[in-house]
Assembly symmetry: C2
Homo-oligomer: 405 residues x 2
């Protein structure tokens, strides 16, 4: 018998209780033992809730109960969540979490504590919601040297970009609509500026490298500058626009990790990942390209991933489920040293100028009034910065182009 | 230290040796112990091969060597492969296999022996080549009640269908080309008649249900009757044609399992799975839709999946990695009781007749000379058989239409 405590009875926490209870037969069968929720920690009371009797307000009730061997941390944040997770692991209780912020910030430390105390720190739900991605990277692709991870990792921005493409609408209009539908937060910065995707690609890059990628050092560009005109040009040239988290192995054992909007070919499997769905494209040296697709957020998909971890923890009570992610900082390449092709949107009378400064590219004629589009040849970020400077006011926008190699 | 024996030094077997050796550092790190190949069993000698000294001809050398704790069965077939696998498991040696035929036929028996002898029978490579799919179903989606599995499971037929769509070519022409390129066997029946896909969906359905789906009882229809005209109509109506392995849970605890070509909407994620790639679309009651994509065959992708299993076996020496698949036969629904919409290709002068017999459908006008297309409303297989009979010679072809629900 495994007794579970759920820390935080919000959206994901209540989903976890629901998945364990609604699917209790399959959860217990897969765990090889009966799995039951014993406590729910929350500051609030939930009168009338079917599980109101399980609610406790004192964390120590959970910490001091030797019957509790698995704890689900669904509180979010890096304050109390960090403190509680650490104490549980020090007490030999496995922790399963959906808290990407905490995993990105303190993952290696908590993994190390788990290892030393014969329990596990599991975080499948922290990236890609219900999409199995942590486990495929760690287990199913265990024999691979991973060459790159490329992900649509944020449902809100993907919803916005999909709407902009399909309806020709502007960023602001679609954002407002997404906020009304509950797909975007009132304060949407973490999503639209790419910070959420940045934490997720940092976690995936850390697993890819086995070392720590500090999310604060990851170049991150959001989607606030993308316009409906950009989509007109993209469509004409056979592309769509997606914001991608990228981790690309460099020859030297380093990796280039960043978040950026991209022109991506309509024929690329990631191009069909639309609306609030996420898709993660992983390339290994033996297996080649693989992709994982599903709902990257939402109460039940995320809770399902937490409970998959509960099952894993329940199968391994008293043992550590290994994770290869050391505290040592990974060697990161600087995006300034990287090279891309760039889609450039310019005033119509600047087209000849950019063709002159960055010759050998491709004109995109989308018949957008008084504008022209141009895709440069491959240029380093440094050289492109010079191009941009020379164009001055003539340049209206630029988006990197994703080329497979 | 884990010592591995590889049974069969053909395409996959030599790939396994290559993956373990080329990626030895990552393989040993993930295993938590050094992993080395000690023996390669084959009837042939391989003079000049870098691993020729590891080749043995007598299976007993492997069976009787207590140092060997993991065996890769990459022989294929259900004769010697079955016998050797069984003996290894009885001796407590874990077996990792790419042999879908053997897994489909004797999976539950071998899993039971593994369980009783504290070792593991692992078969990630048996479905979807390098695509992680067995593990996601068993572990990452462990908390789910699976509602359906829908897969493009055979690279050869997907290559043929993709070529037919893109080039407007006929089945026979493309098959010959595929044979020349080595994408199809000289005797292509197992692929083009759907038998290979049938074994794979039977394995996935067994895992979904936790009981045994006998592949010989699974309705299987191949792609030999698909014509370039069908693609003309499909394109016009917004569809493409894919051969899918399907396992759909029925309310009663049973499942409907079958293999059939389908009209599938161009906007469905499986529609972009082209060429030799495979894609598997899995729907759970909590997580909703997820998809897994990658190379479904080939030496290194398949070998990579075998070695992922070697790593899992190496982590669990002396223990059983559980798999929920009982010998008890699953309750299968009869496809004759199922209902679909049907695309029907008829002689032009039979269009009015089919509109009369199966009213409420949709005419597809693809301007194919002296032919007409019609998509019926939802009909049971029984009723459609009557429609077909009434049309007699007027009917030129029919393909089921995949509707999400």
């Amino acid at each position: 018998m495994v007794k579970v405590a759920v820390l935080g009875y919000g959206t994901v926490g209540s989903g976890v209780v629901q998945v364990i209870e609604d699917n209790c037969e399959v959860v217990s069968k897969k765990s090889g033992t009966e799995v039951r929720v014993k406590y729910i920690l929350d500051l609030r009371d939930f009168p009338g809730d079917p599980y109101e009797k399980l609610v406790v307000h004192d964390f120590n009730t959970i910490l001091e109960d030797p019957e509790v061997n698995v704890v689900c941390e669904t509180m979010g944040g890096v304050g109390a969540a960090y403190n509680f997770s650490k104490q549980c692991l020090l007490a030999g209780k496995s922790v399963c979490t959906s808290n990407k912020e905490l995993v990105a910030k303190h993952g290696p430390e908590l993994l190390q504590i788990a290892k030393e105390h014969d329990c596990s720190y599991l975080f499948e739900a922290s990236v890609g919601g219900g999409i199995p991605i942590i486990r495929p990277i760690m287990d199913a692709l265990a024999a691979e040297k991973l060459e790159s991870i490329l992900g649509i990792l944020n449902g809100t921005t993907n919803y916005i970009l999909t709407k902009m493409e399909k309806e020709g609408a502007d960023f602001d209009t679609v954002l407002k609509e997404a906020q009304m539908l509950g797909y975007a937060e009132r304060n949407p910065e973490a999503d639209v500026e790419g910070h959420d995707a940045c934490r997720k690609i940092s976690i995936l890059a850390s697993l890819m490298l086995g070392k720590t990628v500090d999310s604060e050092k990851v170049y991150t560009e959001g989607i606030t500058k993308i316009t409906s005109d950009d989509f007109e040009f993209a469509k004409k040239a056979g592309y769509t626009i997606k914001i991608l988290g990228v981790s690309k192995a460099q020859g030297s054992g380093a990796a280039l990790v960043y978040v950026s909007p991209f022109f991506i070919k309509k024929s690329h499997p990631l191009a069909m990942v639309n609306d609030v769905f996420n898709g993660i494209f992983v390339t290994g040296n033996m297996v080649g390209d693989t992709m994982y697709y599903g709902k990257g957020a939402g109460k039940l998909p995320t809770a399902s991933a937490v409970v998959a971890d509960v099952i894993d923890a329940a199968r391994h009570v008293g043992k550590n489920v290994p994770c290869y992610w050391d505290a040592e900082e990974a060697d990161l390449a600087d995006i300034k040293e990287a090279s891309f092709r760039y889609f450039v949107r310019v005033k119509a009378d600047s087209l000849e100028q950019i063709k002159g400064i960055a010759p050998g590219g491709k004109v995109v004629d989308a018949q957008v009034s008084s504008q022209a589009g141009y895709i440069t040849p491959v240029l380093s970020e440094k050289v492109f910065a010079e191009v941009q400077e020379k164009l001055g006011d003539g340049i209206l926008g630029r988006i990197r182009v994703y080329d497979a190699k």
